[in-house]
């Protein structure tokens, strides 16, 4: 009985850490400083150990949570995302005077929900996990209660999120009606067995699920919430949700569509190709016009969602690890970029406009160099991780015969370099008229930034091992 719970141990660790954060907060005297973030790190370490022990064992709990290597790989990504996000949260929580206990607890619950979503092998669990993480992230988005902008961002995010959840749920309903089960294995085998596919009912199920996922990964045309939510949330939360939510959603996306709905690939593949192309183009083109760094990175993350969709479409024998590898590099890189923004956030001054970066090099040469690394990696320059990841995706797409998508991808990623380099130009080549606007950099955050940069170079220069892991991991689901 106990052993059947093995698969959810990583989530239990993180959840326990979240509860501990709540308890600690409730015993905190007003004004007392408590290392609540440390509790989160302890929980994540526990989860990491559990993940390591579960590796290769393919444990399943009640047949609804499968700790297969695919799920565990994403769990790893989420542990990294969580640890870095907590490290970057320090300055935000302090300067914005956010309620620390609740903040970290919500973040940890969100991570637990993400892990659950990544390992769930049942549509009902995926839905519940999605809700756990979504609700936690809605609240985190609006946690700066004194800011009207944050409240509006939270509401828009909540509204479109709840709206899309109903579509997702409707898709689950049709899947259930179609096969009598919500379990992905059964759904897959029953759909494969139904002769004259695709039936209208199958298409309806696929279509509604697709809409639900498209909202969560902010694919065009369901991306409208992204820039507002990213801009309104505190920067550490933005980094967290742009990477963690995406990783969890893509994990579930891949699992549902590459296992259960694999027989209908011919149908969803076409729709998804159009969506992916539009997502890359819109994300890049609109991103060029932004003057706020967070908004710009929001569009950039939309475009990266497009690349991930390409990876999903092109998931064949050669390119099937591309989704996981891309998720990992994107998570580390994007989180690093938002980490820099979080560190520069001054409480009374957000410092998040492109023009605020003028002369950053003179005041914080190290931060400017790190930001450059993150941006270049997002733009896909060698020898950064982004290059290997994009190469993986595009070459997989070409091998799968999706030449058009590969070409759109290459073109948009070059256009995106221009908006990334706008910040580089600002940091290095212009000087600011108002000196000393940037706060000091806390130690933990700078260590986390350095770790991200090292990971980016590691994945860019010696990617072999992780690439092989990614390919092996995803082969546990299809």
């Amino acid at each position: 009985m106990i052993s059947s719970l093995n698969a959810i141990v990583p989530m239990l660790c993180v959840t326990a850490a979240g509860l501990a954060a709540m308890v600690a907060e409730s015993f905190r005297d007003p004004g007392e400083r408590m290392p609540i973030a440390g509790l989160g790190i302890v929980g994540l370490v526990g989860a990491a150990v559990a993940t390591l022990l579960l590796w290769n064992h393919n444990v399943s709990s009640f047949g609804v949570v499968s700790a297969d290597n695919f799920g565990l790989f994403v769990t790893w990504i989420l542990i990294i995302v969580g640890a870095l996000s907590i490290a970057f949260s320090g300055p935000t929580v302090e300067r914005e005077r956010l309620p620390a206990g609740e903040y970290y607890a919500l973040m940890l619950f969100a991570i637990a929900g993400m892990m659950l979503m990544a390992t769930a092998s049942d549509l009902l669990i995926i839905f519940l996990a999605l809700e756990v993480l979504s609700i936690a992230v809605y609240v985190l988005t609006g946690i700066r209660r004194d800011s009207a902008q944050a409240s509006e961002a939270a509401f828009k995010y909540f509204l479109l999120g709840a709206f899309s959840s109903t579509f997702f749920l409707y898709g689950i309903a049709f899947t259930y009606g179609l096969t009598g089960s919500t379990h992905l294995d059964r759904v897959g085998s029953l759909i494969a067995a139904q002769a004259m596919a695709p039936t209208p009912m199958q298409l309806l199920a696929v279509g509604f699920l697709l809409v639900g996922f498209a909202f969560k990964v902010s694919a065009v045309p369901f991306h409208m919430w992204t820039p507002d939510a990213y801009e309104g949330a505190p920067p550490a939360v933005t980094g967290f949700m742009s990477t963690g939510v995406k990783a969890a959603a893509f994990a579930a996306f891949a699992r549902v569509f590459l296992t259960a709905f694999e027989p209908l690939r011919g149908d969803w593949g076409v729709i998804l190709s159009v969506v992916a192309g539009a997502t890359m183009i819109v994300g890049t083109v609109v991103g060029v016009a932004q003057s706020n760094v967070k908004r710009m990175l929001a569009y950039s993350s939309i475009a990266h969602g497009g690349y991930l969709l390409v990876a999903l479409i092109a998931a064949n024998d050669v390119g099937k690890g591309a989704v996981l590898f891309y998720l990992l590099t994107y998570a580390v890189t994007n989180l690093g970029a938002f980490g820099v923004i979080a560190v520069l956030d001054n409480g009374d001054r957000a410092n998040d406009r492109v023009s605020d970066y003028a002369g950053l090099w003179n005041e914080h040469p190290g931060l400017a160099a790190l930001m450059t690394i993150f941006l270049l990696s997002l733009g896909g320059f060698p020898p950064m991780a982004g290059f290997i990841a994009k190469w993986y995706v595009f070459s997989a797409a070409v091998k799968a015969g999706d030449n058009a998508l590969a070409i759109i991808g290459v073109l948009t990623s070059v256009v995106s370099v221009f908006f990334y380099l706008r910040i580089v130009v600002m940091m290095y080549m212009t000087s600011s008229s108002q000196p000393l606007r940037f706060p000091a950099v806390p130690k933990i955050a700078s260590v986390a930034l350095a770790v991200s940069a090292i990971l980016i170079f590691y994945l860019g220069i010696l990617p072999t091992r992780v690439l092989d892991w990614a390919a092996e991991s995803i082969s546990t689901i299809f």
Partner: protein, 493 residues
Amino acid sequence: MTTYPILSMITFLPVLAGAAIFVCSERVARWLALAGSLATLAISAPLYSHFDKGSTGLQFVESVPWIPSWNVVYSVGIDGISLPFIFLSTVVSVLCVGASWTAVQMRVREFYASLLLAETAMIGLFAATNLFLFYVFWELMIVPMFLLIGVWGGPRRIHAAIKFLLFTLAGSVLMLVGLITLLRASGTLDFQALAATRPNAALQSWLFVAFTAAFAVKVPMFPVHTWLPDAHTEAPTAGSVILAGILLKMGGYGLLRIALPILPDAVRLFRGPMLALSAIAIVYGAYVTLAQTDVKRLIAYSSISHMGFVTLGIFTLNRNGIEGAILQMVNHGIVTGALFLCVGMIYERTHTREIAAYGGVAKLAPIYSTFLALFCLAAAGLPGLNSFVGEFLIISGAFDTRPWYGVMAVWGVALGTTYILWLYYRVALGEVKPGLRALRLDLDLREVATLAPMAALVLTIGLYPESVLGFLRTSVAQLVVASAASAAVVGGM
């Protein structure tokens, strides 16, 4: 043959030195950069002494699996075509460090780190034996160059840096598309394997367009040359020297390394237009040069004309033309690099690049003027100096195949003599301009030491061209034979 990984050492030593610079003080940074680039030059010595001039294959080969699951290999090696470029890169880098000694006072560590990173990218590019590595180093070159122009450049540096980036990225995106297509078509990215399994003729044409677009931007060929004058004018001296000395050669090298051996049928198909564009670049570049009033801009436009000779030589597709083209690239790197150094040295004193502000410099600075005269004469193609040999070979190659282009090239040489001698006349001879008298114009020992190696090279190659040609003869012969063989196959079909 050596037993230690000499090519990897010279490739990565500069970037390691560049990383080390960040942990030391600004004063030490200069010395460390000098030591790093000198050490690279020293280590590369066995490349020349142990090079087998009679072999057609790759030498000093190192091959390590890099990403086995994608069949991507880290493999470097050189033949007669890449060796002169590696030589050029190592030498020019040392001189750039020397040339920036006093000119760069702001952000010294970052400057030298960028310079050394650029050196790694250049050497790696010329040593790479597969397309993946080639592309990695190609892209790696962009960022340090962007920073060199944009951070340490002149007043319109941002404009110039962004223009440089715009053109270069537009080129490299096409190359990336071509690269992925080629990988899919041939299943390999190794240069030799690719040359053995050529894609079909229709695909070759597309690939040629994609790759040549990238190379043409770098060369730069007419009509994608417009970034070069801005970049040259705004870049700091070391940046201009790297641009002229090496970056432009990446394009010519790419044509020789990728277009000719891998896409021979397409090369034949596009030969006419490419020759025409080259001839236009020679003549148009020369005429525009005549009209310049800014020294750096003048040299920049003369580069376009000189690089026109290079592409003309390459697309003659015969031995003389290609040997001449490679020699011309080396010579152009030396001569134009040296001219930029000369301009930089006097600019440090006068802070103007207007030709009209100079005059009679020969009377004030005899050593400087001697060097300037030597390099100007070399640029003009005086027999006995290096450029003469290259241009002669290219023109004779052109007369062998397309005489009219040979005529255009001769015309270009005549124009080139005019503008460069006129430049010398305006700067060094004539009345001494009043503003110049108060300045200490002549060179100090460091500057002499920077220019002297260039002068020595000008004379050595001019008097004994075999010193370069000897290395590349066999490889070029093989390239021409392979290319002709493919033409025979196509003709026979």
